[in-house]
């Protein structure tokens, strides 16, 4: 395997060195420290801390809710991006700016706002309560919060790709006899699928790690609506550093495996893009 790039562009060594140093400083060294700390208790200690029933339940809540929220964003984020790109209407720029709000808002503020809306006495909660649906202070509340913070990722990754999409491909498909539905599912969707998956992965990753907004709306009932990041904070407050880092390392591993899987899936969807 060659280290040197055969590219005639200069600066490969410098930029690679910089990239590695930067990634090490910002990502790898802190994470290595985390792993080191977790290993302090030995293999058995790590396993018993990381695989305790309460921890497993918290993982299920965290990953399950994040997955559902990311799926919701996949569909509705695409819809939002579609409307913003395809149609011109008064207030389009404003609507476009609103999409970024979940990025900017302190997540705790979002959590409190959503909790008061969906609480049984809140505007939405009061409407839903007679139907027997309780959103706030349960897993549904977590999904709502995670959907909120994950929305911009799908919209912002799909939007430019949709914008660049050749209208002529649609026109040619229509001329060849395709209905609107076939044009969308056979021509447009495959073209934006890689971007859609990227947005999905980002929204999912963000949702897994989310803490601030969730704890206000979740109810935090162990085994039902307690998320893994909260459990880490609880362990820290009890000075159980090994327990906290063990959970963190498990989360890290699970997230890494899932993101890798999404990446591979994404690569497969762009297998046509050979150069």
């Amino acid at each position: 395997m060659r280290w040197k790039s055969p590219s005639p562009l200069p600066g490969f060594g410098l930029t690679l060195g910089y990239t590695i140093a930067y990634l090490s400083l910002i990502v790898l060294i802190p994470l290595a420290g985390l792993a080191l700390r977790a290993s302090g208790a030995g293999w058995d200690g790590f396993l018993s801390a990381a695989l305790a029933p309460r921890v497993i339940d918290a993982f299920k809540v965290s990953f399950g809710c994040a997955l559902i929220a990311a799926l919701i964003n996949l569909v509705f984020g695409l819809l939002v991006a579609w409307v913003l790109v395809r149609y011109d209407f008064p207030g389009r720029k404003l609507a476009d700016a609103f999409v970024d709000l979940p990025f900017a808002l302190p997540t705790a503020v979002a959590g409190i706002a959503l909790a008061s809306l969906y609480a049984p006495q809140g505007w939405f909660g009061a409407l839903l309560a007679p139907l027997g649906v309780q959103v706030a202070f349960g897993p549904l509340g977590i999904i709502v919060a995670l959907t909120f913070i994950g929305l911009p990722f799908v919209v912002r990754t799909v939007e430019p790709v949709l914008q660049d999409f050749e209208r002529e491909q649609e026109e040619v498909a229509a001329m060849l006899g395709a209905t609107r539905a076939s044009v969308f599912f056979r021509v447009i969707l495959p073209s934006i699928l890689p971007a859609l998956l990227t947005g999905f992965a980002l929204a999912f990753a963000r949702a897994v790690g989310e803490y601030g907004s969730v704890i206000f709306i979740a109810g935090n009932l162990p085994g039902v609506s307690e998320i893994a990041p909260l459990l880490i904070v609880i362990k820290l407050e009890q000075y159980d550093y090994v327990g906290a880092t063990s959970i963190a390392v498990m989360m890290l591993l699970a997230s890494f495996v899932l993101l890798l899987a999404i990446n591979l899936l994404q690569r497969w969807t762009r297998s046509y893009d050979v150069r």
Binding site: E166, A173, L176, G177, Y272
Partner: protein
Amino acid sequence: MNIDIKAITKRFGAFAALNAVDLQVRDGELLALLGPSGSGKTTLLRIIAGLENADSGEVLFGGENALERHPRDRGVGFVFQHYALFRHMTVFDNVAFGLTVRPRAARPPKAEIARRVTELLKLVQLDWLAERYPTQLSGGQRQRVALARALAVEPRVLLLDEPFGALDAKVRKELRRWLRRLHDDMGLTSVFVTHDQEEALELADRVVVMNKGGIEQVGSPAEVYRDPASAFVYEFLGDVNRLEVEIEGGAARLAGPGGPPLGGVTGRGGPAVAPAVAYVRPYDIDLVPAAPNDAGFTVGVIRHVQEVGPLIRAEVDLHGTLLEAAKTVHHGGGEDKTVEWRQGDRVRVSFRRGVVFAADANKPLALAPFHIPGGGAGEFHAVRT
């Protein structure tokens, strides 16, 4: 399938893209829509295809109103300049698209689709690339795939929007000939848009010259080239010298004080002075070495001589106006009877033929050479392109 276009008008805001355009496309012909950008040629093509709606007017396909029909029901194959291939599909799937997308009841069985696609790919000589993706093909190959894809649904009409515009010169030429053969073999009615006059003249049965949302002239390539109907067509087709002139007493002379006479203008006598514009093709200009006593004639100086392939071009300064003259070279076989052109030579300039558009006349007037005493330009007419 003949196509009747009646009074088609299309506006984009305040801009009139098409202004009550009438055109008949004959069954089985290959028609070129030629014009500069913004002339409305692509808009007209897109209206025929149904990709654009006309504000008013009619399009009839074989006598039936086509505008009421959805593009997919018009039986039209469309080819775009930038191919518009589906990037995520193989060449095979691209060509098969028009068949696989049909509702189940109308869809041919898989084996039949495969047979037809392979047949079409053989026709465009790309069957060996069936499993490749469009990004792996060259421009010429992509355009051929796009053509095969358009032909897969067995259209009655083939519409091509600048089909060779994105290709390099050599591939363009090859593909042009190939398209001509394909058109003839398949018995299609085809309309293509181009801004390349050479392409239109070489490929089409008839050429429609468009300008500013209207049709300037319709005719065979030879007709539009030899007898342009308007100043615009004259200027747009082929190389031409444009000269500001004044008509006086049945003769045209260069505009401005002391402008030398250029030739007689037929069909316009009288002493009135009228401003006009004359058009003369470079190879309709003869240059003969000027004699010392030629003061009364139209005499200019050769500023520059250039040999391009079989052509010799000269730039002549005639009373401050630069003209381009051209003649073919006779390399080898046969004696070159014409006089050699040299930079700096004083030459007598005569215009063998040309056309004059007078501001106060609505049809073009012919520019003819004066009778030149003492032999005249006649003996130099041996060379024509």
